[in-house]
């Protein structure tokens, strides 16, 4: 009795202390269920496909999570992803890939800063500010590019470094399609998780999101924290655009449309609170994986009365259930 009580206590302790335990349990549970009941799910082709589908969203979700923990949203990330893709792709095609890389990162971060400055200067909710800048940035992009799709057939080495096939890994697993973007994503997740959980800035992010007034009273520069979080959000969107162009050699003005909501969904499914003050980068990655896994599972199930173009409904239901589950765990503990 004592032993099982201690196991239950340990289990409860894990779930109460860890923000990722719940989402991880959900991820594991869905993975097991799909592996058992869905034909051909448990294959390296499917699994690496799920991972690859999560990388672009996952990169954006990192920045979105930081921002949501601080109590804000950024709906302009999709547009910034397209901006990053055009800057990198355009300059790479002109023979200046490194300059393109630098500009894509700097410009998208700066555009994120603009979001933050408007927010802190005007006090308008971030939802509204970034809703406006979403159309502004995409509209400017349309004007500058004349709506022209950017595409290349040249295969520069930098594309391979950024998002080429990870052949040294693929050779060991039949039909696997691991890509370098996985590496970059893991580096970013680890980096930003460390920043969030081990640095003063990270503490400030939680504090501002938990109670901005109290944080201000404690001497936290709330405005600076928020602006920085917006800059990170923009930067991550730019990285996502760079990875997009590196893999598909194409970017359109409409690229990234809708990514904002997917990133928010990934963050929420991964345990980040909409109200701010709680969340984790690992959780966001797990959330992106859960959504991608469900989507793949529905397609693989080949259910005749659920046409493949209706699987978004399944994903929508799951997002709600995951959020309820996370909320239950949090309240219970």
């Amino acid at each position: 009795m004592r032993a099982s009580g201690s196991w239950k206590t340990k289990f409860r302790h894990i779930f109460s202390e860890s923000t990722v335990a719940g989402p991880l349990a959900v991820l594991f549970g869905i993975f097991v269920l799909l592996s058992i009941f869905v034909p051909k799910f448990f294959s390296f082709r499917s699994i690496t496909g799920i991972i690859n589908a999560s990388t672009l969203t996952g990169a954006i979700a990192i920045g979105m999570t930081m921002l949501m923990i601080s109590g804000e949203f950024d709906l302009s990330v999709g547009a910034l992803m397209a901006v990053g893709g055009y800057l990198f792709g355009g300059l790479a095609m002109a023979g200046q890939p490194l300059l393109g890389l630098l500009l894509a990162l700097v410009v998208t971060a700066l555009l994120g800063v603009i979001n933050g400055v408007i927010l802190v200067s005007t006090g308008i909710p971030s939802f509204i500010v970034t809703l406006g800048t979403k159309y502004l940035y995409r509209g400017l992009l349309w004007v500058i590019t004349a709506g022209t799709m950017l595409q290349t057939v040249d295969r520069l080495p930098i594309y391979n470094i950024l998002n080429g096939r990870l052949e040294f890994l693929n050779q060991f697993f039949k039909q696997a399609n691991f890509r370098n973007s996985l590496i970059w994503l893991m580096v970013l997740v680890i980096l930003f998780q460390i920043i969030l959980s081990r640095t003063r800035f990270g503490n400030h992010v939680f504090a501002v999101g938990g109670n901005a007034g109290a944080a201000l009273g404690q001497g936290v520069n709330v405005r600076k924290v928020k602006i920085l979080c917006f800059a990170i959000s923009g930067l991550m969107a730019g990285i996502s655009g760079i990875l997009l162009f590196s893999q598909y050699y194409t970017v359109r003005v409409a690229s990234g449309d809708g990514m904002d909501l997917y990133a928010i969904a990934a963050a929420v499914v991964g345990g980040t609170l909409i109200t701010g003050g709680a969340g984790s980068i690992w959780g966001a990655l797990i959330g992106a994986l859960i959504i991608s896994m469900l989507r793949s599972g529905v397609v693989l199930m080949n259910i005749s009365f659920i046409p493949a173009d209706n699987f978004e409904a399944i994903v929508g239901v799951t997002i709600i259930l995951a959020a309820i589950f996370n909320n239950y765990l949090r309240n219970r503990n």
Binding site: K40, R45, S46, G49, I50, N52, A53, T55, L56, G78, M93, A146, G147, T148, M149, L150, Q151, T152, V153, D154, R155, L156, P157, N160, I161, G164, R165, L166, E167, F168, L169, Q175, N177, N180, I183, W184, V187, I190, L191, Q247, Y248, T250, R252, A254, S255, G256, D257, G258, M259, Y262, S292, R295, S296, V299, L300, M301, N302, A308, D309, N310
Partner: protein
């Protein structure tokens, strides 16, 4: 935990270093095919350059017909069209035919013409079975072939020529029957003096079927002479017959001989083909309508399409490019041609080449057509997308009273009033690029030059079937977009008609990684699917990534897509894509000018409300030309 993070970071860095050391594929030296925007100072009008660009090569085309103008007057207008087009377009031509109606000799002439290796071959497919091998030899030798005046289209004839310029004979017969029934007819007869001609047989078949479908009686009557006695005998035995259609000028002569001698009361008549005799009978009321398949247009367009194919890889969109039927009544028959009439045209569009590179290609087509046909052309458009301004420009164009106007119907409600003012002023109007056709737009302009999404999807599907698809999927990257939905519908309908399973896979086009994974999952769950249609680069790029990741070999699947792109061109060359379809914007511009000029100078009316420019197929046969000309002529 901290140590674990450090270990993970180090591991990640090692992986990055390893991946950077992987052998990278050699960079392709092919330039990206991007459209280049032309920047030109304009105040809404773009004057036409003195000489348009184009190919400097002089081509030679040979035309083989089952009859010649020298002994068959019905071919004179057609040969006139060929000669006029050849002169305007700078093409050398030769017209061959037997000395009398002789199918075997005609087949021999096709062999002779093909052996001379002309740059293009036009011919009448009077007997597809007899001509098939000869035509196929020419096609296999790389000679573009076009059919006119006789034939049923490449699909029905089972010969892969570009298109048939003429009319759907069966449909024309059916329409003639419908008009006679509308006029009160109850028993019809189709008089056929061209025994063995598939066109004549089809005309009668369509005619008879329409009557019988409406529970009336009808039959075909073969005649051998032009004296009208066989027709008189028929009417003696069938006193209740009250409607006649004659399949050609000779059978019309026979009917008129009968009418002049027997003077039958209450017999309604429609005549296929037009000459002065038929014209006068229409004006006198003996003949209700003359059906014109506009042979001048057949000849003219035969030269035009062969030249567009040779120069720019532009092909006719549909298996049958209708030149008729056009029903001429007393008002419209016998209008004299004015081939040297000076013509001024104004085009009004909602965007311009100066800021939208797509329109540069459309305008290129207009400019070249104007230059070849010797007409003055002005193109108007707002300095940015502005529907109100565009509508005002239509008014402005109408006020200038040009001989003809081409315009876009971007908003059929807002534009209706200014367009109707132009039409009511008697100025011929053709529309292009944006519009739904006169019926759907509710505006009675002549025709719309552009492409219909459903039609493109349908013919794309048929072509994939012909290439051996056994199960197909249409990957729609924007479900709910009416145009894309229509493309998929056309595709699935085409496959379903042929008994091949097909469905739609909806994906979110803005997230390429997700699209690729969904396609991969779909393939995993449905590995018997071997036909993939993507609707544009948003679908095709992730599809190519899926093929590369999965290691599928060219030939193990059939892929087609829409809209030309650099990667699409590359994929065609590598065999990963069978063909790409586009709306052929050059043809949109060229065709609009051409149809207005033919109307103004020759009273030739487009036969259909929609003059399809797409699907234009880009495949291995023309990808080299298309690649060179992307953004300019394609």
């Amino acid at each position: 935990m901290k140590k674990l993070n450090i270990v993970l970071v180090l591991l990640a860095l090692v992986c990055v270093l390893l991946s950077a050391c992987q052998a990278t594929p050699a960079a392709s030296t092919e330039p990206a095919a991007e459209a280049n925007a032309e920047q030109s100072a304009e105040n809404g009008a773009e004057p036409i350059p003195a000489a348009a660009e184009g190919s400097n090569q002089t081509f030679k085309f040979v035309f083989v017909q089952h009859s010649l103008c020298t002994w068959d007057p019905s071919m004179c207008a057609l040969e006139d069209g060929i000669k006029t087009a050849a002169k305007q377009m700078g093409v050398e031509i030769e017209i061959l035919g037997p000395e009398k109606y002789d199918i075997d000799q005609t087949a021999a002439l096709i062999d002779q013409a093909a052996a001379a290796k002309p740059d293009g071959l036009g011919l009448t497919v009077t007997d597809p079975a007899k001509f098939k091998n000869s035509i196929k030899k020419a096609i296999d030798a790389g000679i573009p072939v076009i059919a006119y005046a006789a034939g049923s289209g490449p699909l029905v004839d089972d010969i892969a020529y570009l298109t048939y310029l003429g009319m759907d004979e069966s449909q024309a017969g059916a329409q003639a029957a419908a008009k006679l029934i509308e006029a009160g007819a109850k028993k019809g007869v189709c008089v056929n003096d061209q025994v063995g001609s598939t066109a004549a047989i089809a005309r009668c078949a369509g005619f008879v079927k329409t009557f019988t479908d409406k529970n009336f009686k009808a039959e075909a009557l073969e005649v051998k002479s032009q004296d009208g006695k066989e027709i008189a005998d028929y009417f003696a035995a069938n006193a209740d017959a009250d409607a006649v259609v004659t399949v050609g000028l000779s059978s019309a002569k026979a009917f008129y001989a009968f009418v002049d001698s027997a003077k039958p009361a209450g017999v309604k008549h429609i005549a296929f083909d037009v000459d002065s005799d038929v014209e006068s009978r229409v004006k006198d009321g003996v003949t209700l309508f003359a059906i014109d398949q506009q042979p001048f247009m057949q000849g003219y367009n035969a030269v035009m399409y062969l030249l567009l194919d040779k120069n720019y890889g532009i092909k006719p969109a549909l298996p049958i490019t209708a030149t008729g039927p056009v029903f001429l009544d007393a008002k419209s028959v016998g209008v004299a041609a004015q081939p040297d009439k000076p013509v001024t045209l104004i085009m009004v569009q909602h965007a311009m080449c100066a800021y939208d590179p797509y329109w540069c290609v459309v305008q290129k087509g207009m400019e070249e057509a104007a230059q070849q046909m010797g007409v003055k052309l002005t193109i108007l458009g707002p300095d940015k997308f502005d529907l109100e301004k565009t509508a005002a420009l239509i008014d402005q164009a109408g006020a200038a009273k040009p001989d003809g106007i081409g315009l876009v119907v971007t908003d059929n409600v807002l534009f209706k009033t200014p367009i109707m003012k132009v039409i009511d002023a008697g100025i011929p109007v053709a529309t292009y690029d944006t519009g739904l056709g006169p019926e759907q737009d509710g505006i009675p302009y002549m025709t719309f030059w552009g492409s219909e999404d459903y039609v493109q999807g349908y013919y794309g599907g048929l072509r994939m079937v012909s290439e051996g698809v056994s199960r197909g999927v249409c990957i729609n990257h924007q479900v709910g977009h009416s145009g894309l939905d229509a493309r998929c519908k056309g595709f699935t309908d085409a496959l379903t008609e042929k008994g091949i399973p097909a469905e739609v896979l909806g994906v979110k086009g803005e997230d390429a990684a997700q699209v690729q994974t969904t396609i991969s999952d779909y393939y995993t769950a449905n590995s018997d699917v071997d036909g993939y249609l993507t609707l544009g680069p948003s679908g095709s790029e992730p599809f190519y990534a899926f093929v590369e990741a999965t290691g599928l070999e060219p030939g193990s699947f059939i892929h087609a897509s829409f809209d030309i792109s650099a990667s699409g061109v590359k994929a065609i060359k590598e065999g990963n894509t069978s063909f790409v379809m586009d709306a052929q914007p050059y043809l949109i511009g060229y065709g609009t000018v051409e149809s207005l000029v033919l109307k103004i100078r020759y009273n030739i009316t487009p036969a259909t409300g929609i003059s399809a420019t797409g699907p234009g197929f880009v495949d291995k046969s023309n990808v080299e030309i298309v690649e060179k000309l992307a953004g300019t002529y394609r």
